[in-house]
């Protein structure tokens, strides 16, 4: 191990008496106090803040418009532009899920649907939101780009059953994703 001496700054006598710095520090905190009481805190707009301080008073103001685009909320299933279920129930997400929140029951593709090329579709797809840790591994592993982390962050089930989301709910949350995956395109 090399011995690396840390360079300490040299303090002047004024710094070492500490009183001046103390008063300056008190001034800084007082400035913050007055500004937040006046409702003029810094970066208040970024936080969608209202009233005292920079904070967003939560149930009244929401994050909705202020979430960064990379925010990872609840996972959801998506449909393609053509309305096709993208999920082919390969169950990779089920296997990768570190919290074992996902349960997929594979089924056959409904006859007459627009995507007869693929072999399977999920008969049932459940995500237990009490187990989900929002890691995004399902999204990463999905070869079909069928599961995405949505921006939904308010998940307040009142009992355990309510916390389990079924296929229908997941598709409703995910909606339609732009961009075709041509792998299953009939005309290709």
């Amino acid at each position: 191990m090399a011995y690396i001496p840390v360079k300490r700054p040299k303090f002047s006598i004024l710094d070492r008496i500490y009183v001046v710095e103390l008063v300056r520090g008190l001034g800084i905190t007082l400035k913050h106090l007055v500004l937040s009481l006046l409702g003029k805190s810094r970066s208040k707009k970024d936080f969608n803040g209202a009233g005292i301080g920079a904070c967003m008073p939560f149930p009244e103001q929401r994050w909705d418009d202020h979430l960064p685009s990379y925010y990872r909320g609840a996972p959801a299933l998506v449909r393609g532009e053509d309305g096709r279920e993208r999920c082919v129930s390969c169950q990779l997400c089920e296997f990768i899920c570190p919290a074992r929140a996902i349960r997929v029951v594979p089924g056959s593709v409904a006859p007459g649907s627009s995507c007869s090329k693929q072999e399977k579709a999920p008969a049932e797809f459940e995500i237990d939101m009490l187990r989900c840790i929002y890691c995004g591994m399902c999204q990463e592993v999905c070869p079909e780009q069928a599961i995405f982390l949505s921006q939904q962050y308010l998940i307040t089930p009142t009992d355990r059953k309510q916390a389990v989301r079924n296929k229908e709910q997941l598709y409703r949350l995910g909606g339609i994703r732009k961009g075709l995956i041509h792998k299953w395109n009939q005309f290709k």
């Binding site: 009183v19 103390l22 008190l26 913050h32 106090l33 937040s36 810094r42 005292i52 301080g53 904070c55």
Partner: protein, 420 residues
């Protein structure tokens, strides 16, 4: 009725009964005020901490109005109906102000009941006494922390005195001639609480916390005692009531703007007084175990310090003891340096010549306002300064404060002796 009045007069004419009754009344008032201020200072602490960190702090805990519906009221929005009843437009200034104050949703308390609710929560929490502690001392320690601050409040004057037909009432529970000494002696007892808590917990972090508390409190008591000596030299008395009275007549210690305070000597004395004020206030911070001197419960290196093993109401009494010490410390600083109950600028004498009871009431309120201001200062400093290192704390006491205090005494003596 007349018999009753006569009986009351008889009882009050007896000096012993008069003394007893007035003392009990004063006790009740002071005790209630201190406990209320403990709660209030917790609230101030959390609100001011919030504001300093650009947060609102605890601002909810109002009584939600949907409770009305739950109890059977048919009205959906009482505020809307009330505004209509009063004839205010629904988008007017008053309506908007009411909505800003959240009147439409709840009866607001601005978070004031939050400390009370926290107290209630602590009452209901599970009480855990680990099996390896020394039970007797483990239970004794919180009492020893909470008790001394409440006892030492006895000598702090909260108003001047009143002449009644039955005798004089001094608005100070115990008008002792050794006021500050009494406070130092009694608040020094609280170190036993911390030490016993640390030792009886029988685990290493509380033990280290208790050791630190012992060393710190004993050291800073020395510096604190030395730092008020210049003040006592100026006033020539140890009676707190007399000290405040002379401040009311001839200018506060730090603000000699009237009476004899306009002399050259008093202005020069401001220098040692100010040094003494800074030292004394710092020592009070250390005595009350507040940041930047909260070495005894330094979370970063001692988990929770001396109260790591405590839970529920025993922990709460440590908490309350700390805040009570803070309130009493502020009261002492206000009394010694900022004029105590005196309103200043000769207003005390003028009010007293008008009506003594009015004067006492005004002085009481003045004292409480000054106390609140100093508590705010306490909190402000806490959320500004980082915690000192342990060796810095001890060095500050033994290598700086003690020497400075002795020099300050000499300086005061020189000024008093040579300049008139």
């Amino acid at each position: 009725m007349e018999n009753l009045l006569k009986w009351c007069t008889d009882v009050l004419s007896n000096p012993t009964w008069f003394y007893l009754l007035t003392t009990i009344a004063k006790l009740v008032v002071v005790f209630a005020v201190i406990l209320a201020f403990v709660v209030l200072s917790v609230w101030i602490e959390r609100r001011v901490a919030g504001w300093i960190q650009d947060r609102p702090g605890p601002n909810r805990a109002g009584l939600p109005l949907f409770l009305l519906q739950r109890f059977g009221s048919k009205e959906e929005q009482p505020l809307k109906n009330l505004l209509r009843f009063l004839g205010c437009p629904p988008d007017g200034v008053i309506a908007r102000l009411c909505r800003w104050l959240r009147f439409d949703r709840e009866i607001p308390t601005f978070g004031l009941v939050q400390p009370c609710l926290d107290g209630g929560k602590l009452f209901l929490k599970q009480e855990i006494t680990p099996s390896y502690v020394r039970k007797f001392y483990f239970i004794l320690a919180p009492m020893l922390v909470l008790g001394p601050p409440l006892v030492s409040a006895a000598v702090i004057p909260f108003a001047s005195w009143v002449q009644t037909p039955f005798g004089e009432i001094n608005m100070c529970i115990a008008n002792l001639n050794i006021g500050p000494l009494w406070i130092f002696a009694v608040s020094g007892l609280s170190v036993y609480g911390l030490t016993l808590a640390g030792w009886s917990s029988n685990s290493k972090y509380p033990f280290l916390g208790g050791l630190r508390a012992t060393a710190q409190l004993i050291s800073y008591e020395v510096a604190m005692g030395l730092s008020v000596i210049p003040l006592l030299m100026v006033f020539g008395t140890l009676n707190l009531q007399e000290i405040v009275h002379s401040q009311a007549e001839s200018g506060w210690t730090l603000l000699p703007l009237w009476g004899q305070g306009l002399s050259l000597q008093r202005w020069l004395l401001c220098i040692p007084m100010f040094i003494s004020f800074i030292m004394f206030a710092t020592c009070i911070f250390a005595e009350a175990n507040r940041t930047p001197f909260d070495m005894a419960e330094c979370e970063t290196d001692l988990v929770g310090g001396y109260h790591t093993e405590y839970s529920s109401m025993k922990f709460a009494s440590f908490f309350m003891g700390e805040y009570a010490a803070m309130v009493i410390g502020s009261a002492l600083v206000v009394t010694l340096f900022l004029g105590g109950w005196s309103i200043g600028f000769g207003a005390d004498a003028a009010l007293a010549s008008c009506s003594e009871w009015l004067a006492v009431a005004c002085q009481f309120v003045t004292f409480l306002i000054k106390l609140l201001a100093f508590i705010f200062f306490f909190v402000w400093v806490r959320w500004t300064l980082p915690r000192f290192r342990w060796d810095q704390v001890m060095k500050l006491c033994w290598l700086v404060f003690v020497e400075l205090a002795v020099l300050n005494i000499v300086l005061t003596a020189v000024i008093i002796y040579f300049i008139h």
